[in-house]
Symmetry: C2
Subunit: 501 residues, 2 copies
């Protein structure tokens, strides 16, 4: 019934002989024909979830947990995975349960499990060199490092952001974006004056003027990572932060919008206006004592509740940053890499100029920062660490990008996302007491559930793996090879649970 109600606006080619390859561009125009045979093959024969144990995690996962926890942090471990048996959209656990994985290792696997293109890219002379003789990239990069960057990360640079720093994880990316913003802000204050001896001497003791009293504005429900600098800007969950001394700073309200967005335009506009006014109030009130050197925000708050805001909000925010001389940092650690239907979520806002800094990690395999002109320092020792990224991940990323291009995966994301979101919207109309606020861009979708944790568990027993977001939401972060048929499997499982409730 539900399946018939959905509009399929893309067409599949059932045979590999018909599929059209697009090497030249990620963004295709006109109707897209996918190589469905190849895409189907990625699941390694799995056509539906298979749960063999009466509860999840099953006895073998629990046994692994019991053993590992004697020697290792396991407080957040949910399941033990048989990575060799997993394939495409299906994650197989220690007990042989096969889950449709709509979470994909916390949104990090771009092509699912054991993708053949990635398996092939894992074995090469280049990979062997990178693994056995790992460079300190900030000190002695390889002669072909620029070529490696060009065929991977630089081929998907955000518009107008031509400079980059490589790092390993999302937290280090945010930490370094903050440092770049602080330096840029203080350089602007200093003008042509060089760093003074007084600044140097005091910095060594963590005192001003060398360590100035400047701050970063973050937003309610934000998530920017868990190192102490990042955690100071993270406000998604109290338990993440308890017992840690953190930096003080202005926390602005992130818009609390009503969904579906298109049905609540006027009140959402008012809410965003209120938030921008509060941003400006905070700018003013911090200006005298500890001015705001940077504002950091996620395009969609992907950990603190999948909260959205409009392009107009982000444009307004950038405008305030420009007015106060603060760096505008867009944290795309979770939104980058294709799951919103494009590589960079912020590019859909139509900003008049690019943000100062954009951070990335997760689906792009390793972390880093993109910056506009005039931000990356030329003076040694200001931004550095021992490894500065992980070149083997860039090699893998180049294979990911090849696959995305060849298989039109950004288009597939838009198609599957449409199926997913319209299905969720239908279900929330059919079961209004139980789920609500279906929302999303591409397959970066979420909905609220009355008893969220119970719903996540029930989905798991039905063979569907999803993640929580915020206090009441369930987030979907499938791989880029997630098809409409996978969305249907998920929606049918959800409907079965809703019927039983």
């Amino acid at each position: 019934m539900l399946m018939l109600a959905r509009n399929i606006s893309f067409s599949y080619s059932g045979s590999s002989s018909l599929f059209v390859r697009h090497f030249s561009a990620f963004q295709n125009k006109g109707p897209i024909i996918f190589n469905k045979k190849y895409l189907d093959s990625l699941d390694g024969g799995y056509e539906a979830p298979q749960v063999r144990t009466s509860s999840v995690p099953g006895p073998k996962s629990l046994e692994c947990l019991n053993r590992l926890s004697q020697f290792h942090l396991t407080a957040n471990v949910e399941i033990f995975v048989d990575y060799k048996a997993s394939s495409g959209n299906y994650m197989v656990d220690a007990d042989g349960n096969a889950f449709l994985d709509v979470y994909q290792q916390i949104a990090t696997l771009p092509l699912g499990y054991n993708n053949p293109t990635l398996l092939k890219a894992s074995v090469s002379d280049d990979m062997m060199t990178l693994l056995s003789s790992r460079p300190s990239l900030g000190y002695a990069p390889s002669v072909d490092y620029l070529a490696l960057l060009e065929k991977s990360l630089f081929s998907i640079k955000p518009n107008g952001m031509n400079h980059s720093v490589q790092l390993m994880c999302g937290a280090c990316s945010v930490e370094n974006a903050l440092k770049l913003a602080f330096m840029w802000y203080m350089n602007n204050k200093r003008g042509d004056r060089p760093i003074s001896q007084d600044e140097l001497d005091s910095a060594l003791k963590n005192q001003s003027p060398g360590c100035p009293n400047i701050t970063v504005m973050s937003f309610s429900n934000a998530f920017h990572g868990r190192t102490l600098g990042c955690l100071s800007l993270t406000h998604s969950k109290a338990i993440n932060k308890v017992d840690f001394p953190l930096f003080k700073g202005p926390i602005a309200p992130f818009p609390s919008l009503r969904y579906p967005l298109e049905e609540h335009v006027r009140e959402n506009e008012a809410e965003e206006k209120r938030c921008l006014e509060e941003v400006e109030n905070l700018m003013e009130s911090y200006e005298k004592t500890s001015p705001v050197a940077a504002v950091i925000i996620e395009p969609i708050q992907g950990e603190g509740g999948d909260n959205h805001a409009s392009p107009e909000f982000f444009k307004g925010l950038q405008k305030i940053c420009l007015k106060y001389g603060s760096a505008f940092i867009v944290d795309e650690v979770q939104t980058c890499g294709g799951s919103t239907g494009q590589f960079w979520a912020h590019e859909s806002w139509g900003l008049p100029t690019p943000p100062h800094l954009v951070t990335f990690a997760k689906k792009l395999q390793s972390g880093g920062v993109f910056a506009i002109d005039g931000i990356i320092p030329t003076q040694p020792s200001r931004i550095f660490n021992t490894w500065m990224g992980e070149p083997s991940k860039l090699l893998l990323l180049s294979a990911v990008l090849e696959e995305m291009k060849r298989e039109n995966l950004l288009s597939l994301v838009r198609e599957s996302g449409h199926t997913l979101l319209s299905g969720l919207k239908q279900l929330q109309e059919l079961y209004p007491g139980h789920i609500s606020k279906a929302r999303g861009v591409g397959t970066f979708c979420a909905f609220d559930a009355k008893n969220r944790d119970e719903m996540v568990s029930k989905l798991k027993v039905k063979g569907i793996n999803v993640g929580p977001s915020g206090r009441e939401s369930i987030r979907m972060r499938p791989a880029l090879i997630f098809q409409s048929k996978h969305a249907e499997i998920f929606l049918n499982a959800l409907e079965t649970i809703l019927k039983e409730m």
Copy 2:
């Protein structure tokens, strides 16, 4: 002349048929016979440095630099390396210069370049799975994750430290060690009382009591990384810190000892006593306002000047920590992994009980923390990140450890270190105006040079790559396959430069 003066206290077997394999233990007793033929083969035919360009970096490195710097941070890039052409102790650059590498990618390559055991370990079914389907280790580890840990990291656990958290880089390791220490300290304060609602509510806003006013004691000239939390504890170089708002906290004096240590026992004892008194004074003065939850220290300050302290100093420091209920964190990011002649530098101190926390990274391929009982949390969400380490690096580490065992590399480090240090001591007696303070443990050696940066450049032109440490020191961080013959090459080049001065 100099070569004859050195005592060779270990014997080589010239033929592979004579070498003795020790699979059972890293620490051998009695005379060690090395498989010199195999060790020699690792250098891929290079028997001496070969510098072809009149200056270093040469024109091709400069061309690479010019191109990369248009798009990427390059402020600390010194050279571009041909990693495929490099072998063992020899690093080959873009211009075909072959350097004896006594720095090894900032102390990170345990077995030099293109080690055959590591090349072999780079290609396997396990490696392909780990690279193509990377787990979120804190959320869904592999069924064989414990087995992987057991054959790698856990086989070299520090004594009495049975619990671990995996991370990717040194900075994240220190950040998480701090967080573990803060939680442990506050748990001790709370006793049996659970975290209160007031603590939760205030933590979300970075306010006390949830974010308590507690601090960490660091030492002058320390280096603990460059994320904002780590950088607050780093005091090796002012330019690292300028423009960044950092955490305040007590900075104790690290002992400023006279070398050689054995000739200045009494005055060094007095200096260490003075420093410990200052530690205790700081403990007292912070106790009322912002108590010291943790003290962090490096066994040898490997970035801030290669400063040593005695086992008695570290024992005294631990005693003060125990008295004030502060966590004692030993930062072994640079000292771990064998270059001091053992896996963990702190194990030579003879501490009555293990430190609370030990951090590692660099030569162990990825980062992390070891902890004693009662520190790793069982409550979810307190210590977490998306990836929590990098299992492909653990697979490489298991191969590193195999090679170290089979080739007796810890013994080799002790032998080469002896050659290196005794040679440096002779040179400083012959050229007292130019170099001084030869010091070290294993091959983790350093000396002071009158015009340090000039000396580093001159060594480079002679085909020797070393690193700076602090303001006046040159540090040596060769791979574990560095032999006495390599030490001789280095010493002869240094002597040639000294003669010319």
